[in-house]
Amino acid sequence: MTTPSPLLEVVDLDVAYRHGDGWARVLHKVSFRIGAGEAFGLVGESGCGKSTAAYQLLGYRRPNSLIEGGKVLFKGCDLLALERHELDRLRGNRISLVPQNPTTALSPGMRVGHQITEVLRTHRAAPNDAAAEARMIELFRLVGLPDPERVGRRYPHQLSGGQQQRVTIAMALACDPDLLVLDEPTTGLDVTTQEQIIALLIELRARIGLSMLYVTHDLGVLAQIADRVGVMYAGHMVEMAPTEMLFRQPRHPYTRGLIASVPQLEAVGRPTERSLKGLLRRDELPTGCPFQPRCAVAEPSCAGNRQRLEPVAPRHDVACQRWRAIGVPDLAMVKGEAPAVVEAAAIPLLSLDGVTLGYGGARGPLARLLAPVALPVVQDLSFRIDRGETFALVGESGSGKSTVARAVSGLIEPLAGAIRFEGEALPRSVGARSSELRRRIQYIFQNPDASLNPRMRVGAILARPLEIFQNLDGAAIRERIARALDEVRLEAGYAARFPDQLSGGERQRVAIARALVADPDLLLCDEILSALDVSVQASILDLLARLRQEHAVAMLFISHDLAVVRALADRVGVLYRGQLMEIGPAAEIFTPPFHPYTHALLMAAPGIQTERRPPATQRLASAPVAGNKGCVFAGRCPWQVGRLCEEVAPPWQLAGRDLRIRCHIPLDELSARAVWRPDREGPRLAEPVEPSFLPSKSRAAPR
């Protein structure tokens, strides 16, 4: 793309937030421009000011923020100088926002169609109600919502997260804006939904030539969607380059750290460059380069010298005085050895045998009378975890992964089947278990904000399991807490803090420490990384790997993130709609043959590839309910074998030493169809996969 004439230009923007009695600078002389039709990505860890910068494009002012200088020029007109009513005419109309969380962005008491027509009416973009209605339907069709008339009459809670995000995108597009500001629009969604939304955005750009500002912490997403990327750190723009150049030749040490922090599917081991160390501490910023305290290649003068963006190549700017000295990195990945396969013990630590799980309707006996039948969420599930082994359960949200963890912990009782712990049946509910059993199975939740009591200090949070399980007293507890904090790399002083004085990653460390002080044999890790930033994820992953070594603790690791699973797990089970599709050692799961669902998941996962991939999982979009006789994935499966899949339950096939795949399609054909390859050369879609609803000519009907 040639340099486009700037549609929007941000010049030397300085913004401060009220902090106590003074003001804390959150943006320092940030400048960037977005050309017409260009997609510009802003990336950085949380707290780096990327959202603050983005919201200035909408003229968004908070009472506790202060714009200290700079300009935001939209078509040559300074947004910061506009009056409120002039801004109102622009935003939502010429510049619009797709928010991070559609659930809170949509009004819960208003039909979604009405919310769209309201935008049209506000900006007088439709001559009358009928035209507004027609435009709403057109918009819903544009963003790929099925059956627009009916969806328009729904309330937000009747839509899935992905559909809600489509509605907010439709709302942003309502008045044909020139510029779309997207604030982490896929962060709350699971991988396949994320893939679809990104595919939609790519398609929309191609169709209506929109400019975009895409704010995210996820470099993988930007690799797919952005033309140029700006990397922000602590309110400074540290590097700006066309996307491909940024990933090939990152110059700034922070950019390199960020790229190294992205969990990679393509390489088993960790990349050569270390992922980011430490955390952004706003109270310890030097006057010069803000990244200096965490930088591996810093020299003393970095702390004092203000770093300015200077060109290192055409259209590639970096703010680092040492860019010449540190050169261009070689981003080749090292292949590490696969995690050691743990020898199968005679009696597994945990085994599930034909377990069916479900939720028994609502609270309260009256509600229970009305809805007495539990709907099965997980059906006929069997697997085992050996001592010290890490077993990962992957699948999309709603596949029943967390339900399995809840059943093992005793929070819900299985409807059928047996859960055994060291060969003995586990009492069904947590109340029926001995204190000893409760101690040996510990649960770590997804969101540390919710799993730590906000009104208790960290010390009290950690003391409770010690009092209950270890029967310790005052001094011993204090000593043990200090040790536990040290194990998760927190200072002993953290014991006196409240959870809201910690960052997200630190909170999750506290939650991990709380589970570890009980000295468990089995850790249930329920999506424990998904609420965290990538760089924090990397450090927690390191921590988990180390703790597993030191404590010989087994883990049931639940995640939707295949890259994370690959980095940590010994064995993997792939779950779809409560049924295992594929199970086996991690090393074999990530090599062909793949189950069609595993393959679709792998294709959907964002890694760092600068090639634009066609929307590979569009086929996964609609999920008709399959007949309960056949394969649960039938109807959504890209490689489906006609009606056979819908009517006959698929058999388990043994592939390799210990890998089992539940599919009708023969193994060698599954291998042949796989386009995802575990090497870095990469997941290009060689040829489109033919839809196989027709009886195939080229292959013999299986079985």
């Binding site: 937030y17 009220r18 902090h19 106590g20 009695d21 804390a24 959150v26 949380s46 707290g47 780096c48 000011g49 990327k50 959202s51 603050t52 919201y55 968004y60 908070r62 923020s65 609270r363 309260g364 006996p365 009256l366 912990s409 005793g410 929070l411 947590v430 109340g431 278990r433 204190s435 409760r438 510990q442 649960y443 939740f445 997804q446 969101n447 919710a450 799993s451 730590l452 009591n453 906000p454 009104r455 208790m456 409770r464 399991p465 209950i468 399980f469 409240f498 809201d500 709380r514």
Partner: protein
């Protein structure tokens, strides 16, 4: 109110922190607090400096109207109404606070049990609470007083119990709603997984997190308690004469409204200022508790 988390600045003394809190508090909170402090001061010290005794007769010409010697006038029996209002302040405030506090304790316990334990207990308690709330509060209070019988009539303890009875179900509903919400959080699940009993979970996990809601609820109810007590006094079911309870005083002087309106105005305005002050204070308190002072990426 000092439970509000204040970011501590280095090298700041306790007084500087209080001063900073005061500067940043909403206006309603500050005005309410000043009005309340004046009331509390009068309640605590009034009997020592009131110009006349509470039943002292012949202080002036009956129904003389306003003057510097008698700011609120003189009643039928020649008693100074200003002195009586001052003498009554601690009665009104003590009855209101203790009645509301008793209601808070009962309501919080019932609500937390109902919300956390659930099941049949919740259903039964909720139906009971709904039944109590469906009765207009004044009617409920009168039924309770009638049921208590003549021995207790006019006793302070009866008034306290009646205020508690009227408020407990309303507070219980709020406490239940908070408990149901908090009980779904993962930290409660963590406690259950540790095998903690219902009582321990309620005390350690639920109560500290519901305390903000309960505090606001307490202040809000306490703001209306003087009105309830005054209404009972006015109807003749509250304190007995010659107690200088403000509602009772309004009732006693009601017949003289045309002759000397100031005799009703004095206690009436005083009562109103207490209620307005309490409500402003509550409003500000709710804003402070609901305000998240967090410096974060927007």
């Amino acid at each position: 109110m000092m439970a509000v988390a204040q970011p501590t600045m280095p090298g700041e003394s306790r007084w500087e922190r209080v001063a900073r809190f005061w500067r940043r508090a909403p206006n309603s909170f500050r005005i309410g607090a000043v009005v309340l402090l004046i009331h509390l001061f009068v309640a605590a010290t009034g009997p020592f400096w009131a110009p006349y005794g509470l039943s002292q007769m012949g202080t002036g010409i009956p129904l003389a109207g306003m003057s510097w010697a008698h700011p609120f006038g003189v009643d039928q029996l020649g008693r100074d109404i200003f002195s009586r209002v001052v003498h009554g302040a601690h009665i009104v405030i003590l009855l209101s606070l203790s009645g509301t506090f008793l209601g808070l304790v009962i309501g919080a316990v019932v609500g937390l049990i109902s919300g956390y334990v659930g099941g049949w207990i919740d259903e039964i308690l909720q139906r009971l609470i709904e039944a109590l709330i469906s009765i207009p509060f004044l009617v409920l209070a009168l039924i309770a007083i009638a049921a208590a019988g003549p021995q207790l009539a006019g006793q302070p303890i009866l008034i306290i119990l009646v205020v508690a009875l009227v408020y407990a179900p309303r507070i219980a509903r709020m406490a239940r709603a908070a408990a149901v919400d908090i009980a779904t959080r993962d930290f409660v699940t963590v406690a259950r997984l540790r095998g903690e009993g219902a009582w321990s979970v309620m005390r350690r996990e639920l109560l500290p997190n519901a305390s903000g809601v309960l505090l606001v609820e307490f202040a809000l109810r306490a703001g209306y308690a003087p009105v309830l007590i005054g209404s009972l006094g006015f109807l003749g079911f509250g304190m007995r004469p010659p107690t200088p309870e403000w509602g009772l005083m309004i009732s006693e002087n009601r017949a003289l409204l045309i002759v000397s309106p100031v005799t009703v105005l004095g206690p009436g305005l005083t009562l109103a200022s207490l209620v307005v002050g309490l409500n402003l204070f509550t409003d500000g308190l709710a804003r402070i508790l609901g305000r998240t002072v967090r410096l974060a990426d927007a």
